[in-house]
């Protein structure tokens, strides 16, 4: 019984590691290929949430006493990742970096000239 549960945990961990690595690779490809800063931030946000959280889930499943620390890390990363993306995008807008293929810009009229 113990053996079967351990094997089920290892299979789930392998799935989580493969999917998380795929998210990281896709995010870095987007960071290289996309045209401007804001779309690059959209791609790298996926690395810092989905890729990391799936790896932490794998470590919670496999390491014997590590699941409380893994849950603490998941909470920390889920709070910190969007905050970092928002801070960088706000800084990019404030120093006036241009957008490619812009359709409309609501923030321009709200912030004034």
């Amino acid at each position: 019984m113990q053996e079967i549960l351990r094997n089920i945990g290892i299979v789930l961990a392998i799935l989580a590691i493969v999917i998380g690595t795929a998210f990281s690779v896709i995010g870095i490809i987007g960071y290289i290929r996309l045209p401007d800063v804001y779309t690059r931030l959209h791609a790298t946000g996926k690395v810092s949430t989905f890729g990391m959280v799936l790896l932490f889930i794998a470590s919670a499943l496999v390491i014997p006493v590590g699941w409380t620390k893994a849950i603490l890390l998941i909470a920390l990363v889920l709070i910190a990742g969007p905050v970092v993306s928002h801070a960088i995008a706000s800084a990019a807008y404030r120093i006036g970096l241009p957008m490619k293929h812009v359709v409309r810009d609501d923030l321009a009229e709200k912030m004034g000239p």
């Binding site: 590691i17 690059r40 990391m52």
Partner: protein
């Protein structure tokens, strides 16, 4: 089953180290300061992933403690640098 897990772990570790090398190259040849800041933040995030993968390979949870500290410090550093750039105190 354990052998398959080991193979997957080492492959993922090599892939993440290659991604760190790509980010270092992008920080070196970035277009503007925000681009380089995104690259530095990605290096911190991928270092977190490397620490977790090492703890999975060694089957100890001591590396996850280091990962908690790295996550908190990297978050504070990136937000502080973004505020400095937004106030134009860094060119």
């Amino acid at each position: 089953m354990e052998q398959l897990l080991t193979i997957v772990l080492y492959t993922s570790l090599v892939i993440h180290l290659a991604l760190v090398a790509v980010c270092v190259w992008k920080v070196w040849h970035g277009n503007n300061s925000i681009d380089r800041l995104i690259g530095a933040d990605l290096i911190g995030t991928l270092a977190l992933a490397v620490l977790v993968l090492i703890s999975l390979i060694e089957q100890t949870s001591i590396y996850i403690d280091a990962a908690v500290g790295l996550a908190a410090l990297g978050f504070i550093g990136t937000v502080a640098l973004a505020r400095f750039i937004a106030d134009r105190r860094v060119p």
